[in-house]
């Protein structure tokens, strides 16, 4: 049974978040020297609005449409044999062939790295991208695998007892990042 969490404080408000998202979008374009063969793939659930927001910023700046995909990693999780019941499986939808593309995986929070490990396994089952990069809004540290992000919105060191929750305009009608702490018994 997961412990109940309550909001401790807002660590990024909507204005800060908007600035960070704009910067992340420019960083993605800059490190790839343009948007040729670029594809943004959001990891369910909140990697999806992140990918959409970043793509919208890039499109505004570059005047070109950026293909967006959705990746569900449930079938690739490494803890399926230890958790019960099974998590709900949702669809993966990629905008086309990923062979030879530069795929930027997007996720809201980077923590243990296990989600990204699963996402990499899932992605290569669809083809062979030219390169795969990782963009995250929040890197909260405490990695359990040798995985790092290429584009990071903000770094906060958050202990395992606490958690970070991201809200997006598109899915939650508010835009903020909250630090969550366990509810005292």
């Amino acid at each position: 049974m997961p412990t109940e969490l309550k909001s401790k404080k807002t660590i990024l408000d909507s204005q800060q978040m908007r600035r960070i998202l704009r910067r992340m979008a420019s960083e993605i374009v800059e490190r790839n020297r343009g948007v040729e063969d670029l594809m943004l793939v959001g990891i369910r659930t909140r990697g999806v609005p992140l990918a959409e927001t970043l793509a919208a910023h890039i499109e505004r700046e570059e005047g070109r449409e950026i293909p967006i995909g959705i990746l569900d990693i449930t079938l690739y999780r490494d803890d399926l044999s230890t958790i019960a019941p099974q998590p709900v499986v949702k669809e993966t939808r990629l905008p086309g062939d990923i062979d030879g593309k530069t795929v930027v995986l997007c996720d809201d929070v980077l923590y243990t790295g296990r989600t990204i490990r699963a996402a990499l396994d899932a992605l290569v089952d669809y083809g062979r991208p030219l390169s795969v990069q990782l963009a995250v809004l929040v890197d909260r540290g405490h990695r359990e695998l040798p995985i790092q992000a290429d584009v990071v919105g903000k770094r906060f060191v958050v202990g395992p007892e606490e958690s970070v929750e991201v809200r997006f305009e598109a899915t939650d009608e508010v835009e903020k990042v909250m630090l969550m702490e366990p509810v005292e018994e």
């Binding site: 099974q86 499986v89 089952d125 083809g127």
Partner: protein
């Protein structure tokens, strides 16, 4: 009760033995999960590592190509290790009792067992004696839950819902496990079911299951959204349930002309294998209304969903 408004609950059953005991929410959960698995079969690499290290035994005491192959493909696409056992190659022919077969299987610690048997209730007996999750792949004339689920999945794909549809099932109702599972499923999901066939093939008091019964195909098909034809089991024809194949086709064979009174967007289904010119004319089986081959494709996705859900459920007890 549209699929959207039902809150998907979590799967807690160790076994899938029949549709009769399932709730509408559980049925919806299986169908929704299957939607996600359909995509796996459309990829260049049709395999996910989800059930890696799990062992699934396909235990078939009756001949079956379609169901067994469908399960086997579903298992392999989920990376499970699957083992096929059929009667001809098993110790059953050496006189081993069913209980001993079960105990021997248990000793090899499989995670899931898919069983088909000619006698109703065998999967239930097995489920009570072993730790593995048991999936009923057809027991006598009792239930064939995975067939009913793939039928429902196919209907939902075409009609967007099950509620309020008129579904007609035609043929040998009495000896069909497919019909029993389908009646349970469709009535639970709010569809109306009409059965049609010769009186010799209609079980007495079947109306008590909440279905309509008619004895002519014309009457049955009128206004239908879905027409499901059943295979006439020619191998059972020694029992003389109808005078001749030709007469059966004349009265109950589905032809284009007979479909005229159905809804414009009617779909034609068949659990297979089909007998052309017996229960269904080739022009209908191969026609634009036919979704018979889609049923086969969907069968893999639905079975993947069931294997996935069951493989998580029974760990809770262990």
């Amino acid at each position: 009760m549209t699929p959207e408004t039902i809150k998907p609950e979590v799967w807690t059953r160790k076994d899938l033995l029949g549709i009769a005991e399932l709730s509408a929410e559980e049925i919806t959960l299986i169908l929704d999960t299957a939607e996600s698995f359909r995509e796996v079969s459309e990829r260049p690499i049709k395999k996910v590592p989800t059930l890696r290290g799990k062992t699934v035994v396909n235990l078939f005491f009756e001949p079956s190509t379609r169901t067994r192959t469908s399960f086997e493909i579903a298992e392999k696409r989920l990376s499970a290790d699957s083992i096929n056992m059929s009667t001809s190659g098993s110790s059953v022919v050496k006189g081993e009792s069913l209980v001993d077969t079960a105990l021997n299987l248990q000793a090899m610690a499989p995670d899931l067992i898919v069983i088909r048997h000619g006698h109703p209730g065998v999967p239930h007996m097995l489920a009570g004696r072993i730790d593995a999750g048991v999936i009923n792949g057809g027991d006598g004339a009792h239930e064939h839950p995975t067939q009913a689920l793939l039928d429902a999945f196919t209907i939902r794909q075409h009609k967007g819902k099950l509620e309020g549809l008129k579904v007609v099932i035609v043929g040998d109702i009495e000896h069909s496990r497919v019909v029993r599972s389908n009646i349970h499923l469709l009535t639970k999901m709010g569809a109306s079911v009409t059965l049609a066939g010769p009186r010799t093939m209609m079980p007495v008091e079947v109306e008590k299951l909440g279905v309509d019964v008619v004895y002519t195909l014309e009457e049955a098909v009128a206004g239908a959204d879905v027409v499901m034809m059943l295979r006439i089991q020619l191998e059972r024809q020694s029992r003389l349930l109808f005078p001749s194949v030709k007469e059966y086709f004349n009265l109950f064979g589905l032809t284009k002309a007979r479909l005229k009174r159905a809804k414009r967007d009617v779909i034609i289904m068949h659990p297979g294998p089909i007998n052309r010119g017996v229960e269904i004319a080739s022009e209908v089986a191969d026609g634009s209304y036919s979704v018979i081959l889609e049923q086969v494709t969907n069968g893999v996705a639905v079975r993947m969903a069931i294997l996935y859900l069951l493989s998580g459920a029974h760990r809770e007890e262990g």
